[in-house]
Structures are given as C-alpha cells and as structure tokens.
C-alpha cells in the first residue's frame, strides 16, 4: 500500500518523526523497538496484511477471556455442592451474568479458531515461521494451552454434561498403559469424581494454565525474540523482504541505522498494520458480543437431576474426540486421544528445528510441506469426525428424540427462577425434624424413620443420606416397584451387584455387612416410597 512512496517523502517523514511524533515515550522507553519487534514483518500489503490481523484478534480474545474469567471468579465457588448453584446464580440472577458467561464460553472456542487461523496464516505466508521460529513455536504452544484451558473449563459448571465429560476424560486417562490408574487418580484428585476434582480443575483452569500462557507470551516477547531484522534463510526471502524497501535504502544509510529503532517506512507500516489489527479485532468483538447476547452458554440440570437415559454429548470442540472414541477400544482410545494431539501439535512446534537440508533431496520445501501436511491432517481429522458425530446423531431417531428432550429440559431449567441454597446443614435437619417426631417409630422401623446405621455408614456416600441418589448414582426411593428388586433381591444385590447387571461402581458388600445389617438396609429401602 505504500509502494508509491518516494525517497523524498521518507526522508521528510524521518526528520519530522524524530522531532515530534515519535514523541516523549519513544525517546524515554524502548516502546518503539518493542512495537517493532511485535509487528515486525516484511511490509505486507493487501490481503496478506489483512490475513495477518489474526494476531490482533487472538490478543483481544485472550484479554477478553482473562477479563470475563476474573468476573466469573467473583461468584463461582469451586466445590461439587456449590459449583452448579453458583453458575446457575450467575446465569439466572446476576445482571449481565448470562452475557459475560456466554462471552467466556463462546470466546474460548473463537480463540481456538483464531489461533488455528493464525497458524495457517503463518504457515502459508512465505517465511512466516522461518523468519520468526519462536513466534511460530509460541503460537503452537499457546494453541495447546488454550485447548487445555478449554478442556478444564468445560468441567467447572458441574452440570450433567460437565460431569459425564469429566468422567470420560478420567476414563481416557485411566486407560493409558502403565500409568493409567495413577494418571486417573491424579487427574481426579482421588478414586472417583468428587469435590476434589472440581477444585483441582479450577486451580488448573484459573491459575496454572493461565500462568503458563502468560509465561509463554512473556518468554516470546521479551526473551526469545528474534532480532528486528532477522536474516531470512534463503535468497528468495531476502529479495522479497527487501524488494519493497530498496528504494529508500539510501536515506537509511545516511544516518547510521540502529536495528532496534524502526525507520520511518517501518513505522508507517506498523501504524497501518496496528489499525488493521484493531479493525479486525473490533469487528470480531462486536460479532462475539452479539452472538453471546443471542445464545447463552449451555447450562444443563445438575448431574443428580439428570434423568435415566441421559445422553451426554460434549460441546462442539470435543465432538471429534467423542466420535473417535466410538471406534477405538480401551487402551487404543486413550493412546489415540493423548498421542494424536501431541503428535500433531508437537510436530508443528518442531518444524523450525528440523534441518531442512537433510530432506532437500525429497522436496524443495521439506519443512513447509511437512507443516502443511500436519496442519491439514489435524484440521481434516477434527472436521471429519465432528461432521460424523453430527450426522450419526441426526440419523438415529432415538438419539434425536432424546437430545431434543434434553434441550427442552435445559430450556425449562433455564426458565425456572433461581432458588438460593440453604447454607447450614443444621437448617436441613430443622426442616426435616417434623418427620422424625414420631419417636416410637425408631424401634418399630416405621416407613418414615431414619436409615439404619449400616446404611449411613456404607451406602449414604453414593446413594444419599435418605436414599435419594447422588450425582449419577441412582435413587433408591420406590425401587421395589421395579422388577427383580424385592427385599430378597436387594440383599442379593448387596452380596453380588454384578449378578444383577449393576455397574462396577457398586461394590460388593458381602463381607462388609452382617446378614442382619443387609436385611435391615433392604427393608429400609423397601420402605422408601415416592
């Protein structure tokens, strides 16, 4: 866009810039050099220059994630019993809460898309990653960290969807060879999903990963920074990079050029490029703001309220993984889920480190071609499996119906007003106290009496203090109306749950409970009526 500028103008501009518009800040700080390093690129024009504005979009979306994340943290409480309540409070009760959460949720996906586009642009533009190897590596690392932050953030609302996807993530970790069980336990913070899992994911999501992101950015900008006029690594690049500025070389030569202070021409380009970035980022922000106002972030009912037959479906960003897991058994799935992203991202990050000359006989641009192959492979894989997941869900009438029902449930849940949560446990006993006033019932096991001590000790952890069920564990209330659930059956289930087709989560209590205790528990369960 500046090809027509003549040497005379450049000299004039240089002179006036040095006196006035470079200004006080530039004279007392290195801001000009820093800005130059950030925006340093061969003076691009037209489409190339606009394609490079992905950088500005990434910056604005990242800042937006930090801001909205901080805002949400003012209310969110990371514990199994309060996570969903506080998110529902943000969604339903707080002014602008739904919008801010939608910005955070949708923004995280847009950010990943922007980063992928940024990588594509760097990959396709000549020398985009060769000239700035650390810029390239940092972008790949950022993408990996952003994906990790999306994955951990997904669990935080602790609704049924988050609950099940966390369980799937735990199973994937658990299926890894050798390290599986301990990887799973480390991820969950214990043997199973619990409040420890929520706080663990929270710490990762708001502290550890953001700090790593910050370190990556700082390291790239202030430590691993390519010199302003990095030497392009082959002749064509030199020609290309210098072609646009050869005509004012003379003007530069007259004042001994300092590589850290951009010349007038570069400054002019920087200004224009900054404006382009701002325009692109501003438009993306407006689009995101409108989108977030129209489509609130999903929030389903809490896991314990999910009806039987609940079909967990991950968000769009994980659909490819979800679909992939359908085709792979056990350990293969774990390995694929871990290795595939690792290989793709690792391979991309390693591109600038490969010695190109070694493969010169194979192809003229070995690294670029490898990058394009890896990148295309990744994008195709994600796109293909995501499409497959959608198509498969749309084709199965049962799935379609169930998903429609869940969408309706979610809508209904959203419409119900927020109910504040009782804080103290003794408040609950106070409200339930009238039920226990029939004191004589304690000895004659009347229907409404308290559960046997053996139940409270062994069963209540999973099935709730009054058999109401907890998280994904089934409610026991009214269970004797179902087939194969007589009192004798309930005793047999305690001895051998697998024989009744129960999930492995339900352990056998054959040796942990006496026969009397088993019978007392079974009879008490039978007394629970809806």
């Amino acid at each position: 866009m500046k090809a027509e500028t003549g040497a005379a103008r450049a000299v004039q501009e240089t002179a006036s810039d040095a006196n006035q518009s470079s200004g006080w800040l530039s004279r007392h700080t290195r801001i000009a050099g820093t800005a130059h390093a950030i925006l340093d690129a061969p003076p691009l024009s037209g489409l190339d220059a606009w394609a490079r504005t992905t950088a500005g979009v990434v910056v604005v979306l990242t800042l937006l994630q930090i801001t909205t994340g901080v805002l949400l943290a003012f209310f969110y409480v990371p514990a199994a019993e309060s996570a969903h309540t506080t998110v529902a409070f943000i969604e339903k009760s707080l002014p602008a809460g739904s919008w801010i959460r939608a910005l955070h949720e949708h923004g995280s996906k847009w950010l990943v898309v922007a980063l992928v586009l940024h990588l594509a642009q760097r990959l396709l533009m000549r020398g985009g990653w060769r000239r700035k190897p650390f810029g390239w590596i940092a972008s790949v690392v950022l993408l990996a960290l952003m994906l990790a932050n999306g994955a951990t953030g997904y669990s935080l609302p602790w609704d049924a969807r988050a609950f099940y996807s966390t369980r799937v993530a735990a199973s994937i970790a658990g299926g890894l060879p050798l390290v599986g069980p301990s990887a799973r336990a480390w991820l969950l913070g214990g043997a199973d999903l619990s409040t420890l899992t929520v706080s663990r994911f929270y710490a990762l999501h708001v502290l550890l990963i953001p700090i790593l992101i910050l370190l990556t950015v700082v390291a790239r900008l202030f430590v691993f920074r390519e010199p302003p006029n990095a030497i392009p690594d082959n002749e064509t690049d030199i020609t290309k990079a210098t072609a646009a500025i050869t005509h004012d070389t003379q003007a530069r030569d007259e004042r001994a050029p300092d590589p850290h202070v951009p010349d007038a021409r570069a400054r002019g380009w920087m200004r224009a490029q900054l404006a382009r970035n701002a325009l692109a980022a501003g438009l993306v922000f407006i689009a995101l703001a409108l989108y977030a106002a129209k489509f609130p972030a999903p929030l389903g009912p809490p896991p314990e309220a999910a009806a039987q037959g609940y079909l967990p479906r991950p968000g769009a960003q994980f659909l490819w993984l979800f679909q992939l897991l359908k085709y792979l058994p056990g350990a293969a799935a774990s390995l694929a889920a871990l290795l595939l992203p690792l290989l793709l991202l690792g391979g991309l990050a390693a591109l600038p480190l490969i010695q190109a000359s070694r493969f010169a006989r194979l192809t003229n641009h070995p690294r670029r071609n490898a990058g394009v192959v890896l990148f295309t492979l990744g994008v195709t894989l994600v796109a293909l499996f995501t499409t497959l997941a959608y198509v498969e869900d749309a084709r199965d009438p049962h799935t379609r119906k169930q998903l429609a029902r869940q969408a309706q449930e979610e809508h209904a849940f959203r419409q119900t007003p927020f109910a504040p949560r009782r804080l103290r446990a003794d408040d609950d006993t106070e409200t339930t106290a009238p039920r226990n006033t029939t004191d004589d019932g304690a000895t004659s096991s009347s229907p409404s009496n308290a559960p046997p001590a053996a139940y409270a000790k062994n069963c209540a952890k999973c099935h709730g203090a009054n058999g109401e069920g907890k998280f994904a564990n089934p409610s026991l209330v009214g269970i004797t109306s179902q087939p194969r659930r007589t009192v004798e059956d309930l005793i047999a289930i305690q001895n051998n749950p697998a024989a009744y087709g129960l999930e492995a989560r339900m352990p056998s209590f054959a040796r942990k409970l006496s026969e009397d205790e088993k019978r007392a528990i079974a009879e008490w369960i039978a007394s629970l009526k809806l």
């Binding site: 866009m1 005379a8 501009e13 909205t68 003012f74 002019g268 900054l274 922000f285 927020f418 106070e430």
Partner: protein, 186 residues
C-alpha cells in the same frame, strides 16, 4: 477501509499525511476504548453489591414477621423475642435468629437490639432497669433512650403493626445498601 487511495502522489500535502497518520494512531485506541467500555459497563452491573434480602419466609405478606399474640405480651419488663428470618445473600440463604425487645408498657413498641454505636447487641438488665451494650458501655433506659456512653442515638424502633390481635414487625435489611434491586430475580 483505512487504505490510502492508490493514486496518492509523493507531493501530496503534508497535512493530509499527518491527518491520516493521526487517524491510524487513534483508531486502535478507539477500538480498544470501545471494547473496554462495553465490557466495563457489563462488569459494573455484574459486580454491583446486592441488596440483602430478608424475609420471614412465611405468611401471605413476607415483609411482615409475626412476633407474638398480644395476649402474651404482658408485664412491666421489656420482653425479649427471637424471630427467625430467612436472609438471602447471593446464591445462599441462611436462617438467622434476630432478637428484639417488645415494650408492653409502652404501647408494644418494638426495639432493635442493635446498639446504634458500633452494632453490638444490647442486653436488658432487670435489676438496673436499663439496656446496656457490653461492647463499649452504652446505656439506654427502659424506653430505649440513650442515657450515657458513646452511643449518640436511642435504640432503633422497628416498624410494627397489629393484625388480628397478633403483633407483627417488619425487619429491615441490616446493611445500608439501598434496596434498589432485589437480591434474587426471577
């Protein structure tokens, strides 16, 4: 959008160049300011302190809390009563016992037990026939009027009414945040 016309000539006048340059410099700041102010406006509404919500959680009129039937309120001494209130704070609700004194000799006026000095709880001393605040030794007579000590006001009188022979009071939220918006919206 902000591209120069392709036919800009080197001799184009300096003012135009400067104007363009100033625009290019100002534009990113304008965009930045736009994004910031949009988010800041939302953040302001989002973070604004919530007015405390208080209700007895019962009856057809949640603003009024039943204290006692008039028939029970007899005698020369102020009578201490506890009322359970449901205090809603954000996503939590808590049951809270609040104490008040009814003055049967004084037209069943209801006094708050909150000391107007620093907010401790005053107690009634039968022998001395006064209220005393244990924190900083403020004294109030049997009508709740300040007698000595650091407090500068009398004990607060709570709005009360009699409905069907039952004394009811209205508990104001303790905090000073104006009740512009309810703590819980539908």
């Amino acid at each position: 959008m902000n591209r120069t016309p392709a036919n800009a000539r080197p001799e184009a006048n300096k003012d135009a160049t400067r104007g363009r340059r100033n625009f290019l410099l100002a534009f990113p700041f304008l965009v930045f300011a736009g994004v910031i102010s949009t988010v800041a406006a939302a953040a302001f509404r989002f973070l604004r302190p919530l007015a405390p919500g208080v209700s007895s959680g019962a009856g057809d009129d949640p603003a009024w809390t039943t204290l006692a039937p008039l028939a029970e309120l007899r005698g020369a001494q102020p009578i201490m009563r506890e009322v359970g209130v449901e205090r809603v704070a954000g996503w939590t609700s808590e049951r809270e016992e609040r104490r008040v004194y009814v003055l049967p000799q004084d037209n069943n006026r209801v006094l708050s037990t909150v000391c107007p000095h620093e907010g401790c709880e005053v107690v009634w001393r039968e022998r001395e026939n006064d209220f005393v605040c244990p924190c900083h030794d403020s004294y109030f007579n049997a009508r709740g009027e300040r007698t000595r000590g650091p407090a500068r006001q009398d004990l607060a009188q709570l709005p009360a009414r009699v409905e069907n022979g039952v004394l009811q009071i209205r508990l104001e939220p303790s905090a000073s945040v104006a009740e512009e918006r309810p703590a819980v919206r539908g």
